[in-house]
């Protein structure tokens, strides 16, 4: 397949950009409509795989990037021997999962879901830029709030935070429990039906 001008422009932009480019940024930079940009992106993808290139265009951390194919991992890792940080521990992964689905959230919230103290896992994740301190909750003690970063999205190849695995199921689970808890707090243990008369 011979690529058209727009596809090649997009390819060049994605190659040179230091951050992932979104569809709307690509529209603006190329002066084209959303539909044609999306179609052009598809054509690039097809062209890469047809010609068996080691690269492809991927959507990650909110935009498009050029990335190598997974199978070249072993050969490429030689370039970065001793520089790549180790894999995340189970504690860190679990902590990260809790932060990702319930952000912004406090340390206490993470601790209570995992049933253990998560201090060291949080520290590791902060050091590796997977999470950041995104504010304070305006409750007594003003505890710190944690959120995930774009490094997190890129590390796990997630297009954006809505593309987390089974996001609806988990959000429902979280919502259910929190409403239960809320009712328990408000009414001292007896969940009450909302008064339809109000």
């Amino acid at each position: 397949m011979i690529l058209d001008r727009l596809s090649r422009e997009i390819e060049a932009l994605v190659f040179a950009s230091d951050s992932p480019l979104t569809i709307s940024e690509l529209c603006e930079l190329t002066g084209s409509g959303e539909d044609s940009v999306e179609q052009a992106l598809q054509r690039i993808e097809v062209s890469f795989s047809e010609q068996q290139h080691a690269l492809n265009i991927v959507e990650v951390a909110g935009g498009y990037r050029l990335a190598t194919e997974e199978e070249f991992g072993p050969v490429l890792s030689q370039l970065f021997e001793g520089q790549k940080p180790g894999k995340l521990s189970r504690a860190a992964l679990e902590t990260l999962a809790v932060v990702a689905y319930s952000q912004p959230c406090t340390r206490t919230a993470i601790d209570s879901v995992r049933g253990v103290n998560c201090d060291s896992a949080i520290r590791t994740l902060l050091e590796r830029d997977m999470i950041r301190i995104s504010g304070r909750r305006e409750t007594p003690g003003r505890p710190l709030l944690y959120s995930t970063t774009s490094v997190f999205l890129e590390y796990f190849g997630l297009a954006d935070i809505d593309h987390l695995p089974r996001v609806e199921e988990i959000t429902e689970l979280l919502g259910m429990s929190s409403s239960e808890l809320e009712e328990r707090d408000l009414f001292g243990g007896a969940p009450q039906e909302p008064d339809p008369g109000e």
């Binding site: 950009s17 990037r65 990335a67 997974e70 189970r90 995992r114 049933g115 590390y155 987390l164 689970l173």
Partner: protein
């Protein structure tokens, strides 16, 4: 391995057994799955027994790790004991159900544990994928302007770290010596200050503008001398001037 070596080997501690778990909830889920129980209808009494047995084998628990496991042990024991007692219901009041709360915790934790596993799979895949970083190094000023309030503590620590890596110079240092005043020295000077047959006020002994250190040293010395019975102290009322006088024992003992 010889029988002797096997005997001298420390018993397998539960710490090792617990190390493979990410906390009490993880251990509970393991026990529930091992005994093929239904998470929605946990026979608490059975699970509590299994859990406590597991914890009881722990001889060398790290206290930080242990506390979390022990809290769960206490919760389970409390739930079990409550289930053995007859329940009284007052009116239609619905008491807080600790089993339901535990079940909720387990279901929630199990969900996140699965998510963590999925994340781990993505990690495995994406560690082998290399993404082009663009031309930042060449054309962008890496020393990006930081808006006030944007830099985090971690940023500052990193900046400090890179700074200390750059400079080989060590910071200029100065050694400060602490002047020590011993009780013996104080006794010596008190011997000169309190003459036999005369009384002296504590304030006079200290001199003008005494340092806090000096006041404390001399006061401790006074206590020591009183214990030995070498001096007599008089004070009219609290916080009033203290008058010091030698006793005969000072001369006799020393």
């Amino acid at each position: 391995m010889s029988a002797e070596a096997a005997a001298s080997r420390p018993p397998v501690s539960c710490r090792i057994l617990l190390d493979s778990f990410e906390g009490p909830l993880d251990l509970l889920l393991y026990l529930i799955r091992r005994d093929e129980l239904d998470i929605t209808e946990i026979p608490v009494s059975h699970v509590a027994d299994q859990y406590l047995k597991y914890i009881r084998d722990a001889k060398n628990l790290n206290i930080n790790v242990a506390s979390e496991y022990l809290v769960m042990a206490a919760t389970l024991t409390s739930i079990k004991s409550r289930s053995l007692l007859p329940t009284h219901r007052y009116g239609d009041e619905d008491p807080e159900d600790p089993v339901a709360e535990l079940r909720r915790q387990l279901i929630l934790y199990r969900a996140f544990r699965e998510i963590a596993r999925e994340l781990q799979q993505s990690e495995d895949t994406w560690r082998d994928i290399y993404i082009s970083r663009g031309e930042r190094e060449r054309w962008s000023d890496d020393r990006m302007e930081v808006e006030p309030g944007q830099a985090t503590l971690l940023d500052l620590l990193r900046a400090l770290e890179s700074l200390s890596e750059e400079s080989d110079e060590t910071l200029p240092g100065q050694t400060i010596q602490r002047r020590q005043l011993t009780i013996t020295e104080c006794i010596d000077s008190l011997e000169r200050a309190i003459l036999p047959g005369r009384s002296v006020s504590f304030r006079t002994v200290l001199g003008r503008n005494p340092s806090r250190n000096l006041v404390i040293s001399y006061f401790v010395t006074l206590l020591e001398l009183m214990k030995r019975g070498w001096i007599a102290c008089r004070q009219a009322y609290p916080f009033a001037e203290i008058t010091l006088e030698r006793t005969e024992r000072w001369t006799l003992d020393s």
